[in-house]
Symmetry: C2
Subunit: 424 residues, 2 copies
């Protein structure tokens, strides 16, 4: 029997839909060949010989998907948070990213990043690298070694960027191909994703080139959309013909469609933009903490969900100060409460089941069947230890999960499985 | 030489004012008899024989003051956070607090609480107990044993409360005296503070009794003020003659004056209320996380500071999910950014120096000279270990402090001193 076939006994929680968290105390989670077979009160006859791990009394939940973060920014997360987006990009993000030309620095910085990603509650992630092909390949190697399943992108940027962090259109296209060729056949669980930084950083000519590469290599894409009012005004000037910021991506085939796309933030997406995203199946990466830290605002996520948009969560390190997806889930709830209180009384706050869904199955959908324990899903499993945060009375399993989302952290992740493979 | 006379070598940061964090790399912090003598590049001649602890390369900062939290709610923090204030009080807070009549339960629950308070970054705190005199004395014993300096209050409530958690006016006054007499002369660093829960819970008759007790025993007072719109409307009905919610406290002598007062929240304090607080030297306990969790709103703290109000920070467990004052400091920054972005463009966000000041010297002022390293201040000192959160490049000391505020937690507090006494 292969190592990816096993049974876990514990207190099991997962989402099927936004409305409800399924909870099963002292049940058996059956995994066969890396795929979930189901949750059962007793071990079914047909799985009777399967090795069983007993995590009785411990929480067992699906792993989280981080739909948006910047790996090179991890090194300076939580510094310079008094600055706003465009100022912060110039003063912090760009100079720091420029350092990744130095592979020795990249090795040190990405080493710290990968180690933390491995330890935390994230099992899948989509991340930006820098514009450097070699450093991005190095990042992919490090992510591969963690055991997480990830999409990693070499960033493209040929305008409105500092001299130390800019390519020409030609270099950008050539480096992208070099990076893609370097990654080819090399990784099992680490995939390339096309990554134009955002419209202000990419000329029309570059977007056209990237569109070609995207079609040829059949790549998904990730970028930023409608994060900040200043940015939106800027895009309006740069793309006067686009009906909205999202349209500026759409015209280069970068908003989704057959090849999926993740757009981070969408704080200020208007009606047209939301329609375009719906039509193209775009994934919205909601990054609540980053939107606070950079004073961008609050994305009205309930509206997006009501309209049928696909939504997941992103830590957006280093707009977000931490890669913790537990924090990301609870921040999504917190900011939705403020939106409701301060801006729109008709837009009810997100609930714990809704935010938990977004952090697991919502973002996991970008990877196919990930982030749930329904049969056929990838076996991304966290076994969580609550002994650091004891309580004196009684809680239901549903309450224990809520409590863990707010209070748990990386030190409480006892075991982690990704696609049936145990990482620790 | 007494144990409270020592020198600490390290990377020292503290606030004197809101504007600036003083930083001294590789300096000496001199403490004599529990009081700070100053920060020096070399050990001054007159202190040459004083024992020196070498924490080179480690952050050394003042301890934090938590101006507002509910000790009995610690047991159920982070559960039921989808509810709003008044609903949450009825469904969660009141039934849980009623359990503290059972001293065995209180012992277990307060034991967990005290242990966590000891380990964290808080050196001083003002907290609510329950209405039970015995359980509140037990809480005081446990806090005394931690080494923290605290004010602890037996809660008073004789109306609009469930049967399981209500006293008559007479019982409330009698139990308050019993509690005060029980605490008399018993504690070195644990002080009683008068604690009418909030206006809706206390009849006029009870407030009158408590006013008498306050004057006789010369007690400071803590309560809640203008947290939520529903609550404010309720107080308007209950006290039709009061010019504002704050005035309803003032008329019973509970807003400060000669004997200081802490009012938690002040999210919706209007002009009159702010004037009354200024005139009475009221301490505002700003509780940003609680105000998000219970969807109360955002207190425009910069305005209050500009007007000269005294402000400190409160975790408000269990409106807040955690007692971490590091989290509280950074949450104060985060919500101020949203206030600026969503509600008032003229009210600039709080900066790292401002929020750090509020968490240390701002709230510490309630205890006299606490929360800074200026000469004459109580030696409340944290030695912080950043090794769990390594970084690949170079940061200034100021940047390291910001980073620690966002990323640090209880496991990173290496040593803690309160009033010169080393707790661990």
């Amino acid at each position: 029997m292969d190592k990816k076939t096993f049974i876990i006994k514990g207190d099991i929680c997962y989402s099927e839909s936004l409305d409800e968290i399924k909870t099963f105390e002292n049940h058996y989670l059956v995994c066969e060949g890396g795929k979930i077979q189901g949750v059962f009160p007793e071990i079914p006859e047909k799985f009777s010989g399967v090795p069983t791990e007993n995590f009785e009394g411990q929480l067992v939940i699906p792993g989280f998907t981080d739909l948006h973060l910047h790996a090179p920014q991890y090194a300076f997360r939580s510094v310079g948070m008094d600055e706003e987006l465009l100022e912060w990009l110039q003063a912090r993000a760009f100079p720091e990213e420029a350092r990744y030309e130095d592979l020795e620095y990249a090795d040190r910085a990405y080493g710290i990043f990968a180690e933390d990603m491995k330890r935390g509650a994230t099992t899948r992630a989509c991340m930006f690298g820098t514009l450097h092909p070699e450093a991005t390949l190095l990042l992919m190697e490090k992510m591969e070694a963690t055991g997480l399943v990830t999409f990693v992108g070499k960033v493209n940027m040929d305008r409105n960027s500092p001299d130390i962090l800019r390519e020409t259109k030609e270099e950008s296209a050539k480096n992208t191909l070099r990076w893609l060729d370097g990654a080819k056949g090399k990784f099992k669980r680490t995939h390339p994703i096309l990554t134009p930084r955002f419209i202000p950083s990419c000329s029309d000519g570059l977007m056209e080139e990237l569109g070609r590469i995207r079609r040829e290599y059949r790549l998904p894409v990730q970028s930023h959309l409608s994060e900040n009012q200043g940015e939106i005004a800027w895009v309006r000037k740069l793309c006067p013909d686009a009906s909205c910021y999202g349209d500026a991506y759409l015209r280069w085939g970068m908003l989704g469609g057959e090849l999926p796309a993740i757009m981070a933030h969408c704080v200020y997406s208007g009606e047209t933009e939301r329609r375009l995203m719906r039509e193209n199946g775009t994934f919205v990466a909601h990054c609540p903490q980053s939107n606070m830290n950079l004073a961008s605002g609050i994305a009205p996520i309930r509206r997006y969900l009501e309209e049928g948009l696909r939504v997941g969560l992103g830590s957006d390190v280093a707009g977000g100060t931490t890669a913790s997806m537990l924090r990301c889930v609870t921040d999504a709830i917190s900011v939705s409460k403020l939106w409701w209180r301060l801006k729109d009384e008709d837009c009810r706050p997100l609930t714990v089941p809704e935010a938990f869904f977004l952090g697991t199955k919502g973002g996991g959908a970008f990877f196919g069947k990930a982030g749930s324990f329904e049969p056929g899903y990838e076996a991304d499993i966290l076994v969580l230890d609550e002994s650091r945060i004891p309580w004196p009375g009684h809680f239901s399993l549903r309450e224990r999960l809520e409590r863990f989302l707010y209070l748990g952290d990386d030190r409480d992740v006892l075991h982690k499985y990704v696609a049936g493979e145990r990482l620790f």
